[in-house]
Symmetry: C2
Subunit: 511 residues, 2 copies
């Protein structure tokens, strides 16, 4: 199969560049001629708070999506609920095309990452979307939502989930809407599936998929989540990394101590945790946890070949992020995301800044994130880290310590909360006919050769689709790469939103 | 001089045990017979917020102290101001005793450490003092302020500065009041000096001392700050450690990054800072910063001898704090506080707990506290740590980095804010006649042999008194050792407050 797919892509692009452009142009025109209403509708959607644990707001989002579906004439609209109460429902809808032999199902998620509003830039609030002339850190200034159908594609809309992943939900719904309004008939059956607890670990997704196994049958899932390639080129990813979390809390004295009277006699939990975390990686950024890189299934020939063709963005990204070095010297970003990883998401002990005081804190906490590649088992990966912690002289418990637990061992004491809802990585073969059709369809939307990524750095619980539905999945992301997803100042560049709608529409037109 | 002081102390105790007891008993009776009013007056005092940077509240405290002095008939009451505006003033007052040949000046500070109210126990607020039947973490429950003159000495009053150091200010003022009310004439001139920016580094203390050099002359300064010995015995400390702070901020990417898309490619500032801090101490808790233990002036024979006689509290404290080990195995608490130290006060990067998200933070900050012993220079000690940071591959700046600074070196980037108002350690000889008199006076208040500490673990800017006034200083602390000073849930045990008043009164009666 060596070179076949990439060669095909070149030929197809050449042959079909003109063929779909009339239909695509109609879609593009429709969106641009209705951009004011379109943006307003999107802003209303991202104004609804969407933390998965906030069950009231989550249901407001779900109902809102149902009404957007109804408005577009999508059928069989319903909530797919888990058995337990308060679980964010998935939202389903479908369009059955008479005579169609292919069924595509489009996925995006409508819940978002937690927000720490205090960390957002002045003038921004996570759920009060605001439009800026460009990225704020590049000098963008506020601009009103346009009353006419004129906008600058470089404008950015700031809000939690503006890109991750309400942009996905909206692009899919708007793509279908544009298709219909432009008088284009879909060529396949289209199903819609919007998850509500992806950022909380998709704890009930498996149950929902299993329960609605028949309803959710398809030839291919199109996962619309994550950013396009940093080069600005559109990309398709054939896999995702798995994900698992660990929260570590090191305990010391039961009460905070004066750093003068007890400093360097009483153990300092921040130092203990710093030493523990420092022990997890060597000077070359390699994780030193025993067996951490074992179990990894190597890339296939097609995948290796595709990886070689991924444009290098290392120098561009270093410049953009003002980095003079990388964590693993000599490893490219592409290589790095094809390895399991260990990242510190947060570290907190005592106080800094104005609240700092001369004390020895009573505990120190860190949250670490493990990303997994094909072959890793998420719980085995967590256990490797826990074994490493034990090897560093720690007694590991899974709860706040009792007075006795603090002293009954001669070991250091740590609470390890192993996230219960991790999941494994997943990869779909690049060499399946329906997958090839989607690649070709996306290629029709852009003159640039699209990037084919064997795996994305980010995670989605795609293995669940394989497990419960025997389904195939590929990811077609649309957001700008510098969207600050998962952090403060999340945003979507309007060019990406509009092009994302076109990408989704092109996929809906495959034959 | 070997053994002389300790031997003297034994003889003196035996000879004078009866002599002062009548006067002391009067003082004790007076306080107990007026305990309700006394406690109410103290509660009013500690209800006033007292962060040194809060200039409005600080002046309220100063005026409040002036009124307490006036009420007690203390003369020449005045604020001693620095030249710059908004600096917390020191409060001065004096009682001149006709014919007295000795002048004692009593020091305490009325400002307090910053508070993070969210960290205080439920039901407690830093500036709403509350009385409990015992320590909250030992099962104490709330109790009203007594309307009668009955109280339990084990009761604890919770509030910021309840012990550090408004207890000192109040004990000194109340001691004089009790003396007068009991019809006892002071035997020496008594001066009062209450500082208002000790917890903010005593930045203007030198200037104030210099400006009022004549007014502040004395034979000895009695510094009332800090806790009694952990054994519960009263103690006198002849020196304090110096103190200097450093705030370290490691920078990585200019914007927060998704841990999946960039984890283990982009540097993680929390890991970098963890590794840096970990590099500062070896597995035996010894600071690895080059030359860190140089410059230390050894203890004199008297001091070494006194140190040997300090009761060991290591096992008691380990039990009390639920520690199964100490940072420097084999080193006792007494030994540890006679060494320079390095402590992490706080560490913060990204978020933990409910706000945790899968991101690579943009920076990580730690505050470290250096304690110094005689011979260390505070700025030299800071520079040793900065040199260590440089040796770990960092480029050090003293401000938020510009875009260019982030990349113009091939080094890791750190901002180091070296606290500008550190100070050196100080020690007063134990063998001076006036010092001996104070030792004897304190000894009359207790049947237990008092503890003589060559140095306290904590810090006070005592070298300034030596420098600007050529003055001698000793510390006579009164607070319970488990007072949570500098942290949440600060408290004073009533027994310590009342005994502290007696101690101060006994010193005012030396001949």
């Amino acid at each position: 199969m060596k070179y076949t797919l990439l060669a095909m892509l070149g030929i197809y692009t050449f042959m079909n560049a003109g063929a779909q452009s009339v239909q695509l142009q109609k879609i593009k025109n429709h969106n641009h001629q209705n951009s004011s209403a379109l943006l307003k509708e999107f802003v209303d959607f991202i104004s609804i708070p969407n933390l998965a644990s906030d069950s009231t707001s989550i249901r407001r989002n779900a109902f809102h999506i149902m009404s957007l579906m109804n408005k577009r004439g999508i059928g069989n609209v319903q909530l797919l609920n888990a058995t337990a109460k308060g679980v964010p429902p998935s939202v389903y809808g479908e369009v059955i095309t008479p005579g169609a032999k292919t069924t595509l199902i489009f996925y995006a998620h409508y819940d978002g990452q937690p927000v720490n509003a205090a960390q957002w830039a002045e003038g921004l609030e996570p759920f009060t979307p605001k439009l800026y002339t460009s990225a704020i850190d590049k000098g963008g200034s506020p601009v009103s939502l346009p009353e006419t159908n004129a906008y600058d594609p470089e404008w950015r809309l700031y809000a939690r989930s503006a890109s991750d992943d309400k942009a996905g939900v909206f692009a899919i719904l708007q793509a279908y809407s544009a298709l219909v309004k432009s008088g284009i008939k879909p060529t396949c059956n289209i199903k819609f599936f919007f998850e509500g607890e992806e950022e909380a670990g998709s704890q009930h997704l498996g149950e929902i998929l299993e329960k609605h196994n028949q309803l959710l049958q398809s030839d291919l899932w199109i996962m619309c989540d994550g950013p396009v390639h940093q080069s600005g080129k559109k990309q398709i990813a054939f896999g995702v990394r798995g994900d698992a979390g660990l929260e570590l809390t090191v305990y010391a004295s039961t009460r905070p101590l004066h750093s003068g009277h007890y400093g360097n006699w009483a153990p300092n939990p921040a130092l203990l945790l710093a030493k523990l975390l420092a022990s997890m990686k060597d000077e070359n950024g390699r994780v030193t946890v025993q067996g951490f890189y074992d179990d990894v299934i190597p890339l296939t020939i097609s995948e290796s070949e595709a990886l070689k063709n991924v444009p290098s963005v290392d120098e561009q990204m270093k410049k953009e992020l003002r980095l003079n070095s990388v964590e693993m010297p000599g490893k490219s970003l592409s290589e790095a995301i094809n390895l399991p990883s260990l990242n510190i998401n947060g570290f907190q002990s005592g106080n800094v800044g104005k609240l700092a005081s001369n004390q020895i804190p009573t505990y120190a906490t860190a949250v670490i994130d493990l990303r997994l590649v094909l072959g890793n088992d998420w719980q085995r990966q967590q256990n490797k880290v826990i074994d490493h912690i034990k090897s560093q002289g720690y007694f590991v418990i899974d709860h706040d310590p009792t007075d006795n637990e603090r002293i009954e061992h001669d070991k250091k004491l740590i609470k390890v909360i192993a996230g219960k809802f991790g999941y494994n990585a997943q990869r779909t073969s690049m060499d399946i006919p329906i997958v090839n059709k989607v690649i070709m369809a996306v290629q029709t939307t852009t003159p640039d050769k699209i990037v084919l990524q064997p795996t994305m750095g980010g995670s989605l619980p795609l293995y669940l689709f394989e497990k419960h539905l025997k389904a195939k999945t590929i990811s077609v992301p649309i957001a700008n790469h510098d969207n600050n997803q998962h952090a403060e100042n999340e945003n979507i560049r309007l060019k990406n939103l509009f092009e994302g709608i076109e990408t989704m529409a092109a996929i809906m037109m495959i034959k």
